[in-house]
C-alpha cells in the first residue's frame, strides 16, 4: 500500500493541474492573452508565472540529485540557469520584444523575410524540445516509482520506470490534445509557489533537526587527522609488525663482491656522477669536504643530491622561491659537528640535512627521488606542521619505533599487484636554478589501482604504506598494528584508478568500515587500532558536532575530497576513464612460464640473458652494464618479475632496442620501476591487467592523462557556455518573456523573475549535501533508485523520530515534482505541437486547410509528439535529469543563441548565413551528444543486465561491439568535446554565420535599416508602427 500522505499529495496536485487545465480550455482566450476585460496582470503574478515555467524537473529534482552525486561541480548548473536568464535580458529580450516576435520561428521569418528559414527554426524547436522532454520523463518515472514503491508490480517491488513514464506521458498528451493545459498565467504562478514551498519547507524542517547548510558542509572535511596521539606504550598491547616500503637495506646482509669500498675524495663535492651512481647504499664509504666556515648553498645541495643518487638513478631537487627571495647563498656549517671521514652515504646526507636545518632551511622529501628546499618558517605553507613530530621518549624499555627492513619472504604469496602509473616529474638531476613546483601537483599526477579483493590487514596496510612512501617521499614507513585486530580481513574495492588522496581515503574508509582506525603519528609512523577501544592505544578523536549525523558512504560514492572540491567526478570522468589501448596491428603473444622451484633470476642465468647474482630474499640485482637488449627480451624479464602468465607484444616492438639504466642492488619495487622506466624511455607502454601483460609502442597509444585537471577545466568552460547561452533557445520561455503590456512593467517583471528563481536555486544543493550525509544509500542505486530521487526521499529520514511528518514532507516534495515535470512537459508539448501543426502542416503541407482541419491536425500532432517523447523517455532511465537538460541547452546554445544574438546586433546577417550557422552548429552538437549518449546508454544497459543476472538479449549483444566505449577510453579529449560540445559548436556557428553572410551579402533585406530600428529604438518612438505601415501599406 503506498504511503497515504505521499499518494494523497500527489493525486491532489495532479488533479488540480488537470482540472485547471481543462478550465482554461473552456475559455476561448489564448495562452498569452492578458487583456482580460481590458485589464492586465500584475507584475507579481506575471513574475511568478514566468518563474514557474522556468523551473522544470531539472531544477526541482535534477540539481539536487546531481549535487549529491557529483558535488561541487554540479553547482554550476543552478548558477548558470540563472545567469542564462540574465544573458537573455542583456542582449536579446529587449530587441525581441520591440520586434514583436513571440516565438523564434516568428522572429526568423520576420527578420529575414524568409518562410524557409522559419521551417528550419521549427525543426530545431522539435530537436531541442525532445531533448528537453526526456529529463521531464525521467522525473516522472522516478516520482511515480517512488510513490508506488511499496507496491508489487509484475512480481517486482515498485512501479517499473517505463510504466510511470507511459502513464504520465499519456495523461498529459491527452490533455494537450483535448485542448487543455495551455499554461495560463494563474496556473503557472501557482506552480511556482508550490515548487518554492515544496523545496524550501522540508529543508527548514530537516535543518532544524539535523543542522543547516553550513553544518552539513562542515561535517565533510577533507583533511583528517586524529588530533591527539599519545604513545602510551605501557597500555598498548601490541607488537611491531613491519609494514612499509623501506628502501634501505641492512648493508651487512649482502655477500659477495659488493663489499668493496669505494672511496672518493675531492674538494667541494663528489665529482664523478657515474661513480656516485655506482656507490651502493651504505656499503661503501664516501668522503665529503665542504668549504668552511661558510659553504655556498648550491654546493651543499649538489653534494646532497650526489649522495642521494646512490639510492636511485636520478634525483631532482627543487628550491622554493622563498629561499631564492631570502637570498640564502651561503650556509654556516660550523655549528654542526663534522662526520667521520670517510663515512657512509647515509651519515653524510644526515649531516647535510642538519646543516640545512641549522641555517633555517628544511629539506622536504617530495618523493623518493626528489627533495625540495624551503625555509623552515614556511613549512606550514607546504602542508607540514612547524613543530617536529612528537619525539619518541628515549627512556622506554622496549623500542617502539623499530624499523625493520622490508623483506619479501619467499614463503609468503606475492603481494597484490599495486600498479602505479607515475606520470609526474621524473627528470634527471637538475641543478639549483630549478624553481619550485608545487609538490602536491606531483601527488595529483600519480594514479593508483588496487584490485578489489579481500586482504588481510597487514597486506592492506602494506599497500597504504607503499603509497605513502611514494607520496611523502619518506624513505621508510613503519607502523604498529594492535594485536587484537591483526587477523582482520578487509574487503576492499575501488571504482577505477584513483589519485593518491582518494586512494588514501578509500583505504581509510575501508578500514573504518571494518572498525579499524588508522592514525598517523608522523608521516612515517602509523598506528592501526580498533575504533572501539582506540583510547586504550592513546588515540583520541575530534568530536563531530553534536546533532549532525553522518552516515557511512558506500564504496561507489565519491570521496570527500573529490566531492567537495572543484574538478570532481563530473568534470574528470572522461579523463579518468582513459586507458592506453593496444595499437591495432599484428601482435605476438607469448606464454611466460615460470619454474616455481627456482628463483626468478636463476632462470635468467640459466638462459644466459645475463649473469648476475641472485639474492632472492633480500633483493635482486642486475648489472648496470648490460648490452642493450630488445624490448621483447626486456618484457619477458619484466613479465617474469610480475609473474604474469601471458604477455602480448605488438610485433613492432620485438626488435626495438632498450637500454637498461639502473643501480645494482635494489628492492622489488625499485627493480619494477627500473623496468618501467627503461621501457618508457624506449617508447613502450606496458599495461598489466588480470595476470596478463600487454606492451605496445607509446606513439600509437594514448597515454592516460597524468593530470586530469586541465581536462576538467575545459569541461567546466564548455558546460558554462552551454548553459548560459542555451537559455536563449528554450522555445517556451521566450513566449513568456513579454506578457506584460508595457516596457516598464516588463523590466520590473524580469527583475522579480531573477529574484524568484535565484532564491529557489539556493535550496536544491542543500538537498544534495544533506542527502550525502543522511541518505548515502542512494549512491548504490541506479536509475530510479539513484540520487535523482533525493528530493523525494530525503524527508522520510524524519519518519523515525517524528512519525508522519516525514511522509507529509515527502508528499509535499512529490507534489512539487509533479508540478514541475507536468507543467514543463505540457508547455513543451504545446510549443512543439504548435510548431508542427501550425508551421509544418498549416503553412507548408496544406496552406488552404480549414480551422477544423488544423485543429484536428493539432490533436494528431500532439499525440504523435507525445508518443515519441514517451518512447524516448523510456530509454533514459540511467541518465541524470540535470545532465540531459544540460545537453538540451548545449544544442540550443549552438543553434538558437547565435541566431538570435547575431540577428539582433549585426545587420550584415543574411538568410543563408544564419541558416548555415544554425544548422551546422545545431546538428553537429546533436550528433556529438548522441554519440556519447549512445555509449552511456549501452553501458548502463549492460550493467543492468549484469546486476540482474539476466542473460543479455539479442539486440544488446548485437549492438555491444558498436558501443564506442573503447574509443572514448582512448580519446578522453574527444569524449569531453562530444559530451559538452558548446565550447566549439557555438564559435563554429557564429563563425559560419559571419563568413557565409559576408559572402551572400546581396541577400541582405533592403529594409534592413528599418528592421534594425524596430529592434533597437525605444518603443515610445513608434518606429514599429511605421514599419508595419510601410511594410503592409
Amino acid at each position: 500500500m503506498p504511503d497515504p500522505w505521499i499518494l494523497g499529495f500527489s493525486l491532489i496536485t495532479v488533479a488540480v493541474t488537470i482540472w485547471m487545465g481543462f478550465r482554461s480550455a473552456k475559455s476561448s482566450k489564448s495562452a498569452a492573452d492578458f487583456f482580460v476585460a481590458g485589464r492586465s496582470v500584475s507584475v507579481g503574478w506575471n513574475a511568478s508565472a514566468i518563474s514557474g515555467e522556468y523551473l522544470s524537473a531539472a531544477s526541482f529534482m535534477g540539481v539536487a540529485g546531481m549535487v549529491m552525486s557529483a558535488g561541487y561541480d554540479a553547482l554550476w548548473y543552478p548558477v548558470c540557469y540563472a545567469c542564462g536568464y540574465l544573458f537573455l535580458l542583456l542582449f536579446i529580450a529587449g530587441p525581441l520584444r520591440r520586434f514583436g516576435a513571440y516565438t523564434i520561428p516568428d522572429f526568423a521569418e520576420g527578420r529575414y523575410d524568409s518562410p524557409t528559414f522559419r521551417r528550419i527554426a521549427v525543426l530545431f524547436v522539435l530537436f531541442i524540445g525532445f531533448f528537453y522532454t526526456m529529463p521531464q520523463m525521467k522525473g516522472a518515472g522516478t516520482t511515480l516509482n517512488y510513490v508506488f514503491q511499496d507496491v508489487s508490480f509484475f512480481g517486482q517491488k515498485g512501479l517499473p520506470y517505463w510504466v510511470g513514464v507511459v502513464v504520465v506521458g499519456a495523461v498529459i498528451t491527452l490533455n494537450v490534445a483535448l485542448g487543455g493545459m495551455k499554461g495560463i498565467t494563474l496556473v503557472q504562478a501557482f506552480q511556482y509557489w508550490i515548487k518554492m514551498f515544496a523545496i524550501s519547507v522540508p529543508i527548514f524542517v530537516l535543518a532544524s533537526v539535523y543542522g543547516g547548510y553550513g553544518r552539513q558542509l562542515d561535517t565533510i572535511q577533507v583533511s583528517k587527522q586524529a588530533d591527539t596521539i599519545a604513545l602510551q606504550d605501557a597500555e598498548m598491547d601490541a607488537f611491531s609488525l613491519p609494514f612499509g616500503g623501506t628502501i634501505s637495506f641492512d648493508p651487512e646482509a649482502f655477500p659477495g663482491d659488493f663489499s668493496k669500498e669505494t672511496s672518493v675524495t675531492s674538494y667541494g663535492y663528489l665529482q664523478d656522477e657515474a661513480k656516485a651512481k655506482a656507490i651502493r647504499l651504505g656499503l661503501s664509504r664516501t668522503s665529503l669536504s665542504l668549504p668552511s666556515p661558510t659553504c655556498p648553498t648550491s654546493l651543499a645541495l649538489d653534494a646532497y643530491v650526489q649522495l642521494r643518487l646512490s639510492f636511485s638513478n636520478h634525483f631532482t631537487n627543487y628550491v622554493g622561491r622563498d629561499v631564492l627571495r631570502a637570498r640564502l647563498l651561503n650556509l654556516d656549517i660550523s655549528q654542526v659537528p663534522k662526520p667521520p671521514n670517510p663515512a657512509r652515504a647515509r651519515t653524510l646526507s644526515r649531516y647535510l640535512e642538519q646543516i640545512f636545518a641549522t641555517n633555517g632551511l628544511t629539506l622536504l622529501h617530495v618523493s623518493r627521488d626528489a627533495v625540495a628546499v624551503i625555509l623552515t618558517t614556511n613549512l606550514a605553507k607546504f602542508g607540514h606542521p612547524v613543530e617536529s613530530p612528537p619525539a619518541v621518549a628515549a627512556g622506554n624499555s622496549a623500542p617502539l619505533l623499530q624499523t625493520i627492513p622490508y623483506a619479501v619472504p619467499e614463503a609468503n604469496p606475492e603481494p597484490p599487484d599495486l600498479y602505479v602509473r607515475d606520470g609526474g616529474m621524473r627528470r634527471d638531476y637538475s641543478r639549483w636554478k630549478n624553481l619550485w613546483v608545487d609538490f602536491r601537483g606531483r601527488e595529483r599526477r600519480m594514479m593508483v589501482s588496487l584490485p578489489a579483493a579481500t586482504y588481510s590487514l597487514p597486506d592492506l596496510l602494506l599497500q597504504y604504506a607503499q603509497s605513502h612512501v611514494w607520496h611523502r617521499g619518506v624513505t621508510q614507513v613503519s607502523g604498529r598494528i594492535a594485536k587484537e585486530i591483526l587477523n582482520r580481513q578487509i574487503t576492499y574495492s575501488q571504482p577505477g584508478p584513483l589519485t593518491r588522496t582518494e586512494f588514501d581515503e578509500h583505504i581509510q574508509r575501508a578500514l573504518t568500515d571494518h572498525g579499524i582506525t588508522l592514525v598517523h603519528v608522523t608521516p612515517e609512523l602509523y598506528k592501526a587500532v580498533p575504533t572501539d577501544s582506540a583510547a586504550k592505544y592513546g588515540v583520541a578523536f575530534r568530536e563531530v558536532q553534536s546533532g549532525t549525523v553522518r552516515n557511512a558512504l558506500p564504496a561507489k560514492a565519491p570521496g570527500d575530497a573529490t566531492w567537495l572540491n572543484p574538478f570532481g567526478p563530473l568534470t574528470t570522468k572522461a579523463a579518468r576513464a582513459a586507458v592506453p589501448v593496444l595499437e591495432p596491428g599484428p601482435t605476438e603473444t607469448m606464454e611466460v612460464v615460470f619454474d616455481n622451484q627456482r628463483p626468478l633470476w636463476s632462470q635468467m642465468v640459466a638462459t644466459g640473458h645475463h649473469a648476475s647474482r641472485i639474492l632472492e630474499s633480500r633483493g635482486v640485482s642486475r648489472p648496470a652494464t648490460l648490452p642493450p637488449k630488445s624490448a621483447a627480451e626486456e618484457l619477458v624479464e619484466y613479465a617474469g618479475l610480475e609473474k604474469v602468465g601471458r604477455l602480448t607484444i605488438a610485433t613492432s616492438l620485438t626488435n626495438l632496442p632498450v637500454t637498461w639504466t639502473a643501480t645494482n642492488v635494489m628492492s622489488w619495487n625499485q627493480l619494477r620501476n627500473s623496468f618501467q622506466r627503461s621501457l618508457e624511455q624506449a617508447g613502450v607502454v606496458v599495461r598489466i591487467e588480470r595476470g596478463a601483460m600487454t606492451a605496445f609502442p607509446a606513439r600509437s597509444a594514448v597515454s592516460v592523462p597524468a593530470n586530469p585537471r586541465p581536462y576538467a577545466l575545459l569541461y567546466t568552460y564548455s558546460l558554462i557556455i552551454a548553459l548560459v547561452c542555451g537559455t536563449a533557445g528554450l522555445p517556451h520561455i521566450l513566449v513568456r518573456f513579454y506578457t506584460n503590456p508595457d516596457g516598464v512593467a516588463a523590466k520590473r517583471t524580469t527583475m522579480w523573475v531573477m529574484i524568484l528563481i535565484g532564491i529557489f536555486y539556493v535550496f536544491p544543493p542543500v538537498f544534495g549535501v544533506m542527502g550525502r550525509n543522511l541518505m548515502p544509500s542512494l549512491y548504490d542505486g541506479s536509475g530510479v533508485n539513484g540520487t535523482d530521487g533525493i528530493v523525494l526521499k530525503l524527508p522520510t529520514v524524519l519518519g523515525e523520530r517524528f512519525g508522519p511528518l516525514g511522509s507529509i514532507l515527502s508528499g509535499i516534495t512529490c507534489a512539487g515534482a509533479f508540478a514541475a515535470f507536468m507543467s514543463t512537459f505540457s508547455g513543451l508539448l504545446v510549443s512543439m505541437t504548435g510548431a508542427l501543426a501550425h508551421d509544418v502542416y498549416g503553412r507548408i503541407l496544406r496552406p488552404q486547410s480549414t480551422p477544423e482541419q488544423r485543429l484536428r491536425m493539432f490533436k494528431v500532432a500532439a499525440v504523435l509528439i507525445g508518443a515519441v517523447a514517451i518512447g524516448l523517455g523510456t530509454l533514459v532511465e540511467n541518465f541524470e535529469i540535470n545532465f540531459m537538460v544540460g545537453q538540451a541547452f548545449a544544442i540550443a546554445a549552438a543553434s538558437y543563441f547565435p541566431l538570435l544574438f547575431m540577428s539582433v546586433w549585426w545587420r550584415g546577417m543574411t538568410t543563408r548565413g544564419a541558416a548555415t550557422g544554425m544548422l551546422t552548429g545545431g546538428l553537429m552538437a546533436v550528433a556529438a551528444i548522441s554519440l556519447t549518449s549512445w555509449t552511456t546508454f549501452l553501458t548502463a544497459q549492460g550493467a543492468k543486465f549484469q546486476a540482474l543476472g539476466r542473460p543479455e538479449p539479442g539486440w544488446f549483444t548485437h549492438l555491444k561491439p558498436y558501443s564506442l566505449s573503447d574509443f572514448w577510453a582512448a580519446h578522453p579529449l574527444l569524449r569531453i568535446l562530444c559530451e559538452q560540445p558548446a565550447i566549439w559548436a557555438v564559435p563554429l556557428a557564429i563563425l559560419l554565420m559571419i563568413v557565409v553572410s559576408k559572402r551572400t551579402r546581396h541577400q541582405i533585406p533592403a529594409d534592413i535599416r528599418e528592421k534594425m530600428l524596430v529592434l533597437h529604438a525605444p518603443e515610445a518612438l513608434g518606429l514599429r508602427q511605421d514599419y508595419i505601415r510601410d511594410h503592409h501599406g
Binding site: F87, Y102, Y717, M754, L1013, H1016
Partner: protein
C-alpha cells in the same frame, strides 16, 4: 508643421540615429555582460590556480562553495538591477533626444499584442 514632423521622422530613420542607438545599447549590454562574465569565467580559473584558498572555510562553508552556491545569485540580481535602470534611462534619453513628440507617437505603452494561439 507637416514638413517639420516628417523631417523629424526621417531623422529617426537615418543611419546616424541607428548607429548611435545600437552603439549605446551594445555598450551598456556589453559592459554589464563583461562584469558578470569576468566573475563567472574567472571562478574556474581561481579554482584551478588557487585551490587551497578556494577550499578555505568561511564560517562552515568552503569559500568556493559559498561563492558559487549562494553569493552568486545576489551578484546576478545586482547586475540585472543596474542594467534595467540604465537601459530605462537610456531609452528615456533617446526619446528625449529625438525631439518633441508629435501626436503620432505612442507614450510608453506599446501596442504589441502577442499572437493568438490555436
Amino acid at each position: 508643421m507637416q514638413s517639420q514632423s516628417s523631417q523629424d521622422r526621417s531623422a529617426l530613420h537615418s543611419e546616424a540615429f541607428l548607429r548611435t542607438l545600437m552603439r549605446r545599447q551594445l555598450r551598456l549590454s556589453i559592459s554589464c555582460a563583461l562584469t558578470f562574465l569576468t566573475a563567472l569565467l574567472g571562478m574556474p580559473l581561481l579554482n584551478y590556480f588557487l585551490p587551497e584558498l578556494m577550499a578555505s572555510r568561511v564560517g562552515d562553508f568552503p569559500l568556493t562553495w559559498l561563492l558559487l552556491g549562494v553569493l552568486f545569485f545576489p551578484f546576478v540580481w545586482a547586475i540585472a538591477w543596474v542594467f534595467i535602470r540604465r537601459s530605462m534611462a537610456l531609452e528615456d534619453s533617446e526619446v528625449r533626444e529625438a525631439g518633441p513628440s508629435p501626436s503620432s507617437w505612442g507614450h510608453g505603452r506599446s501596442e504589441t499584442r502577442p499572437p493568438t494561439d490555436h
